[in-house]
């Protein structure tokens, strides 16, 4: 499936804004992203497996914080930074 990468994380993806990843859930997709782009997962998910406070994830048009959200290859995942986060 297509995963959209926000600008601050593109240093991990070679500046790619859209990458392909596989997984039956958001957690699995994140694991696959980390396999392809080492280190990217920890910038998005903390060590307790929770989506970091100032990050947001959309599955298609639906925002979710549940990393167990089931996914299919037809879904599109978008990571964005929240409007919070400071100046």
């Amino acid at each position: 499936m297509v995963v959209r990468i926000p600008t601050p994380l593109r240093s991990y993806t070679g500046q790619a804004s859209r990458v392909e990843a596989r997984g039956a859930s958001l957690a699995a997709v994140l694991a696959d992203l980390d396999r392809q782009f080492p280190g990217i997962r920890f910038r998005v998910v903390d060590e307790q497996g929770r989506l970091r406070r100032h990050m947001r994830v959309f599955v298609n048009d639906e925002m979710t914080r549940d990393l167990d959200t089931p996914l299919t290859d037809r879904d599109e995942v978008t990571f964005v930074q929240a409007l919070s986060g400071g100046a």
């Binding site: 601050p8 920890f42 998005v44 986060g85």
Partner: protein, 377 residues
């Protein structure tokens, strides 16, 4: 110092380097690297004089550590940044890596990191992988000492001032912004508070075993039994094996007070230390008292203090964070501080005179002197 010093500048918007020529009279600023990142603390490994370790984060992304083995020409991210265990009993997560300390000279590649929340981490591979120091993070008293889950500092309570005794790698100190000073004599397996004599911001005239707010604790490099501390409630000195801190800030002028963030020590003279007082009155502006910036120095271990302001602006409301003051080991000693308003001020004569060597930088979080190997200057 064999060569001219290089200042490592951590700012809210990236990393800068300021390099001196010859007599420390001309400084060249380079950077920023990591533009837009919050560069909390950048430290050179004094053991190899080429490895840099950088504690960094952004406002949104998780905290991490970057490393360079060529003094900043190239960087690589830590494979495993500081993090609590995934099954942490309290569900803690590192919000920021705040403080970096190289390990003992006999333990090449070892580093300690202090975090917010107040966790302690160690690396044995020059900052590539980090592990929790369980003896601290899981100490039975940790929740009490760290006032968990309260986060008492605006940016979160932090663990700082990690000190490794140069005589003994197993002898450690650390400071908690909410909790006090703690000591280990077994490489971090067990810890004990070391706060008798420190005033508390919470209760006056009461001696508390813990709960104080040390801002910066330093161990004298030439006299490791001597510790100095700039605390939320004054300037202190402790000569081990004593356990009671003495408030040497009582000798500061009363119209200036002895509140501040950083404290720096002369590299060779155990009786000399510099502080940057701040206004702790009313709502705690934390700027220069009465808007008149000055460094103060003691040359008699706190028995007396002298004002050093030649060359500083007559009126300025400077704030200098706890990691944003440093000294080199030249003779005379160079003293430096960086302000939250983005200026670096330098003295080549132990504070007798000052000049601004950089301005218009982002908010300065940390300032460290580095002495890299010649081929990497």
């Amino acid at each position: 110092m064999p060569g001219s010093p290089v200042l490592l500048v951590g700012t809210r918007k990236g990393v800068f380097f300021s390099s001196a020529a010859g007599t420390r009279s001309e400084w060249t600023l380079t950077g920023p690297d990591f533009l837009g990142h919050i560069a909390q603390h950048l430290v050179l490994d004094p053991r190899d004089r080429r490895t840099l370790v950088l504690a960094i984060r952004t406002g949104h992304l998780g905290p991490t550590v970057f490393r360079s083995n060529d003094f900043g020409r190239t960087w690589s991210e830590a494979t495993r940044p500081p993090a609590f265990h995934s099954d942490d009993r309290l569900g803690r997560t590192v919000e920021a890596v705040f403080w970096l300390t190289p390990g003992h000279a006999d333990e090449a590649g070892s580093w300690y990191a202090g975090a917010s929340p107040q966790g302690l981490f160690r690396s044995d591979d020059s900052g590539d992988t980090w592990s929790p120091v369980d003896g601290w993070n899981d100490h039975p008293m940790w929740e009490t000492w760290a006032e968990w889950p309260e986060q008492n500092t605006p940016d979160g309570s932090m663990l700082h001032s990690i000190i490794v005794d140069p005589r003994d790698a197993t002898h450690l100190y650390l400071g908690l912004s909410s909790g006090g000073v703690f000591e280990s004599i077994d490489a971090g397996k067990d810890w004990a508070p070391l706060n008798i004599g420190l005033a508390s911001p919470l209760l006056e005239d009461v001696e508390l075993e813990y709960g104080q707010d040390p801002h910066c604790v330093r161990q004298h490099p030439a006299a490791p039994d001597r510790l100095y501390q700039q605390n939320h409630c004054g300037i202190y000195r402790l000569d081990r094996p004593a356990t009671r801190w003495e408030r040497i800030g009582n000798q500061m002028p009363t119209d200036v007070g002895d509140i501040g963030f950083p404290i720096e020590l002369h590299p060779r003279d155990p009786d000399t230390a510099w502080v940057f007082p701040m206004d702790g009155t009313d709502v705690w502006p934390r700027t220069s008292p009465d808007g008149r910036p000055a460094v103060y120095v003691t040359r008699d271990a706190g028995g007396s203090w002298a004002r050093l302001d030649a060359g500083l602006p007559e009126r300025a409301w400077f704030t200098v964070k706890r990691q944003a003051m440093c000294v080199d080991d030249s003779d005379p000693v160079g003293v430096y501080f960086g302000t939250t308003s983005g200026e670096i001020w330098a003295s080549a004569d132990e504070g007798a005179s000052w000049r601004c060597i950089a301005s218009h930088l982002p908010e300065i979080y940390s300032l460290e002197v580095a002495d890299p190997v010649a081929e990497l200057r």
